[in-house]
């Protein structure tokens, strides 16, 4: 293997590690004409299967994306009556870093209820909770209705692919959805089998 090949392999390795500013060059000889654009890692998240998500589902849907960074919107598909909160785990494929979570625009903020959003990485799982909080002093807070055929955003999870990869995002146990009925002022867990927990898949490639 000649020294030029060794250098090119080293440059490619640096690119994969994220040092995209390195221009690895190519062609023959130094001083060659033209600007060399290094390959960019681009991540594409695809929802499902099934897609679209069925009724009474909590699903992972593609959000905003740029290059290796991509968002996954956690959506709730109706008909869900009195949706109060959800706790679940998302298993990640290899070569994906979890960056952050965002509650902006979440439908469970409706009515100004206090809420709790948390997402923390443990190994290759993210423990997630997004829920309304019952009121202080015993004030009752009902859940939020998501009508049939409607889809509402619960929260957004942000990721970064770190290498070319394909893999699945799955929503696993323990997982639970709570509802709080405004008529009876009682709360209860939705049976796990009554909910469709729909994940997605990632493809990240250098383009």
């Amino acid at each position: 293997m000649n020294r030029r090949t060794i250098l090119r392999l080293a440059c490619l390795s640096a690119m994969i590690a994220g040092s995209l500013a390195i221009s690895c060059g190519g062609g023959g000889g130094s001083g060659g004409g033209g600007i060399i654009v290094p390959p960019v890692l681009t991540a594409t998240f695809t929802a499902g299967p099934p897609s679209p998500a069925p009724a009474m589902a909590l699903s992972l849907e593609p959000g905003a994306a740029m290059d290796a960074d991509f968002d996954v919107d956690v959506m709730v598909t109706g008909a869900f009556a009195d949706f109060f909160g959800a706790g679940f785990r998302v298993t990640l494929p290899p070569s994906v870093n979890f960056l952050s979570s965002s509650s902006a625009g979440s439908f469970i903020l409706a009515g100004g209820a206090a809420t709790q959003f948390s997402a923390v990485l443990q190994g290759n799982e993210i423990l997630v909770v997004a829920t309304r909080i019952q009121g202080s002093g015993g004030t009752y807070v009902p859940g939020v209705d998501v009508g049939a055929g409607n889809s509402a955003k619960l929260l957004t999870l942000s990721f970064q692919a770190t290498a070319p990869t394909t893999g699945a995002f799955t929503i696993g146990a323990p997982r639970q959805i709570e509802t709080c009925n405004d008529g009876t002022e009682t709360c209860s867990a939705v049976a796990d089998g009554a909910v469709s927990w729909v994940g997605g898949s990632l493809m990240a490639a250098a383009i």
Binding site: F84, G85, A86, G87, F88, R89, Q116, S118, V120, L121, Q122, L127, V128, V129, T131, R132, I133, Q134, G135, S136, G137, G138, T139, P174, R175, Q176, E178, C180, T186, C187, A189
Partner: protein, 715 residues
């Protein structure tokens, strides 16, 4: 006898009377700033009527103001011209500056070549004193009686025999209604109290602030020589948001009877007393104050370097000491930081709450470097009872005396029957009186002797007269002590090795001394505490020590009391010496129940099951139903890790935020709190397993606790 009240009512449109250093004390002065009076006293005496405002313009006023606001006695017949006024500094109103307007009694009433008087005396219902600097008083800076508001002043450099900076007597005899006094947002600093050594000698209390809430019985026909009490009201005093620093008390007097016993002084920073007649109610709330560097001077037997407060009377009395910051104060006797005493007799109903205070780096010459908590009930009956709770206090870095106990907290609790005469005491003795110590953080305190973190001494004595030959009829006298959910960490008990015989240290973490005399009962419940890292220089038990006593009675031999010691669900780890122990019960009637504890990591025994004179306190190490496993305490919070073996799903409650016990703090645990939030015991949504701090309700504190551990998973 019917009594006609003659009251001077305030005008619906209260006037403002101006005072200026450039003014003139002439009749009619003060209607405008340009025609201001020259002195506050003239404005009060000549121009003000009830509820007027005396607005004082910036400058220094060398005078001692008397604005009593109610009639002084003796006066025959008494005049009820009540003239309370508001004395307000204009500069404070304009810009919040309380240093621009000074009332200075130096050379006039400071007691140097003149009669010692307060710089400002103000009284009467609805009176107010606000926004001044007050100095040079010889008998307090601000002296007050009645329902007065004293706010936003700087009170400094005053002296007195009692109440150096501020003296408040909210008694009820001389004005109608319930006196409500507020002492708020003042800075009270560098004031001195020295008990007089000649004439009527007093105790010399309250270096910074002295408050007394007295509810007296109306008495219009007093005995000859006594003053009448015209009204009966229930006083309520609030001491809130003040900064009380560098005040002192001193007292060199001896008891005139024996000539030997030193008289005591109380409260170098703040002194507070409730004292009510049988049908009266009095209340004092001390909250949100910063109390620091106040000292009982050497040579004085003094209690309560920062705060001293006590109930005292026969009525319904309440004292609350809440959310204060108390640091670097000193007492020569007990209570370097706070001394809080509940003293109740016969028909009184008293309650005391010491909650949420931060008590640091205080020094006691006696017991209780941080907190000195005393509960005393004599001849108290069923239905009266009292409650004493010390909860959620941070007690750190305090020290008791070289021969004192309780570096952090010293608790002494006693109930007595002194007579079975129904004319002198309640006919039915109280079934049980209670003291609750819960949720306190007690760390890094030092005791000269025992109880580096905490000492709890409880005595129940149901024998009205234990001395032969006049033996009384014994009646039940019981005590229930609850010591729960406290964090007692890294405290030190020194012991005394330099004397002969050397004094061993006992109970570097918690020392418990229950005594039940003659058919009485003391029950001590110690549960869900974490006692770890406590150290003794030399001695035996570094964690929790109990020494029970059931002494015999001189009248009826062999009729001993009972002590019950219940130790449940505690974590006692890594203390020096023995984890949990005490001397063999011997002849004492002691019942020990120990369940669900994790005691581990002690160089000697974890549970003291081997001793020189068996049977020992415990039959085995560990006793059945207890463990010696590592509790896996978090190195910062000392809370057991979610994987800790101390969490047992079979126990009746959970402290772990792993509500569903699946070895993870995850979304399902958060959901459990989310749907229970805001509910309390007995309500449909309440879930006991989400009440992490066991206060009977699921609230933001539990959620915050769980959220802080969200994501913890056992391997």
């Amino acid at each position: 006898m019917a009594f006609t009240l003659v009251l001077t009512l305030g005008s619906a449109n209260a006037a403002t009377i101006y005072v200026s250093t450039t003014g003139s004390d002439v009749v009619g002065c003060g209607t405008a700033t340009v025609s201001a009076c020259a002195s506050i006293q003239f404005a009060y005496d000549s121009e003000a009527i009830s509820n007027d405002e005396i607005r004082v313009l910036p400058g220094t006023y060398n005078e001692c103001v008397e604005a009593w606001g109610f009639p002084l006695y003796p006066a025959s017949p008494p005049s009820l011209s009540d003239k309370p006024v508001q004395i307000v500094a204009d500069a404070f109103v304009a810009s919040g500056d309380n240093t621009a307007t000074t009332i200075d009694g130096t050379g006039i009433c400071d007691g140097v070549g003149n009669t010692a008087l307060p710089t400002v005396t103000i009284g009467g219902t609805g009176a107010e004193f606000r926004g001044f600097t007050v100095t040079g008083g010889g008998r307090s800076g601000v002296f007050s009686q009645g329902g007065v508001a004293i706010t936003n002043n700087l009170i400094t450099g005053n002296a007195s025999v009692t109440g150096g900076g501020i003296y408040v007597f909210a008694g009820s005899c001389y004005y109608a209604g319930d006196p409500v006094a507020v002492i708020a947002d003042n800075e009270v600093t560098l004031n001195t109290v020295v008990a007089p050594t000649t004439g009527p000698i007093g105790s010399g209390d309250g270096g910074g602030i002295y408050v007394s809430a007295e509810s007296n019985e109306q008495n219009l026909t007093p005995p000859i020589g006594e003053l009448p009490c015209l009204f009966r009201g229930d006083p309520d005093i609030t001491v809130n948001g003040n900064t009380v620093t560098q005040n002192t008390v001193a007292n060199t007097n001896l008891d005139p009877i024996d000539g030997v016993t030193p008289l005591s002084s109380f409260g170098a920073g703040i002194y507070a007393l409730t004292n009510s007649a049988t049908t009266g109610t009095s209340q004092v709330t001390i909250s949100g104050n910063s109390v620091s560097n106040n000292n009982v001077l050497t040579g004085t037997q003094g209690f309560g370097g920062g705060i001293w407060a006590s109930t005292f009377g026969f009525g319904t009395e309440t004292i609350e000491i809440l959310d204060n910051t108390v640091d670097s104060n000193s007492a020569t006797s007990d209570g370097g930081g706070i001394s809080a005493w509940l003293t109740q007799e016969s028909f009184g109903v008293h309650s005391f709450l010491v909650d949420g205070n931060t008590v640091t780096d205080n020094q006691a010459g006696g017991n209780g470097g941080g907190l000195d908590l005393l509960g005393f009930a004599r001849d108290v009956g069923i239905g009266q009872g009292h409650t004493y709770t010390a909860s959620n206090n941070d007690v750190t870095g305090n020290s008791s005396g070289d021969f004192g106990d309780g570096g952090g907290i010293a608790i002494e609790y006693e109930t007595q029957r002194t007579t079975d005469d129904p004319a002198l005491s309640h006919p039915n003795p109280a079934d049980s009186l209670g003291f609750v110590v819960t949720g306190n953080n007690v760390q890094n305190n030092t005791a000269g002797l025992g109880g580096g973190g905490m000492i709890v001494s409880a005595t129940a004595n149901g024998d009205p007269d234990s001395e032969a030959p006049s033996c009384g009829i014994p009646l039940p006298a019981s005590i229930d002590l609850d010591i729960s959910s406290n964090l007692v960490l890294n405290n030190q008990a020194d012991g005394e090795s330099g004397i002969i015989p050397p004094i061993d240290v006992i109970g570097a973490g918690i020392l418990i001394l229950p005594t039940a005399v003659h058919t009485s009962r003391v029950t001590v419940n110690v549960d869900t505490n974490t006692v770890a890292g406590n150290n003794l220089d030399f001695g035996f038990v570094g964690g929790i020590e109990i020494q029970a006593s059931t002494p015999d009675d001189a009248c009826i031999a062999g009729n001993l009391g009972d002590v019950e010691f219940n130790l449940d669900s505690n974590v006692v780890a890594d203390n020096s010496g023995v984890g949990v122990g005490g001397p063999p019960p011997g002849a004492a009637q002691l019942t020990v129940t120990v369940t669900n504890n994790s005691v581990t990591g002690h160089a000697d025994q974890d549970y003291e099951a081997a001793c020189a004179n068996p049977p020992c306190l415990f039959a085995a190490d560990p006793p059945p139903g207890n463990i010696t496993a590592d509790p896996l305490l978090d190195p910062v919070t000392y809370f057991p890790n979610v994987c800790s073996p101390v969490f047992d799903a079979g126990a009746g409650f959970f402290l772990s935020p792993d509500v569903n016990a699946d070895d993870a703090i995850d979304g399902l645990d958060i959901l459990a709190i989310a749907v229970s939030n805001g509910s309390s015991t007995g309500q449909p949504r309440f879930n006991m397993s989400t009440d992490l701090n066991r206060n009977g309700e699921t609230d933001g504190d539990d959620l915050a606790n769980m959220a802080s551990q969200f994501g913890d998973i056992c391997p």
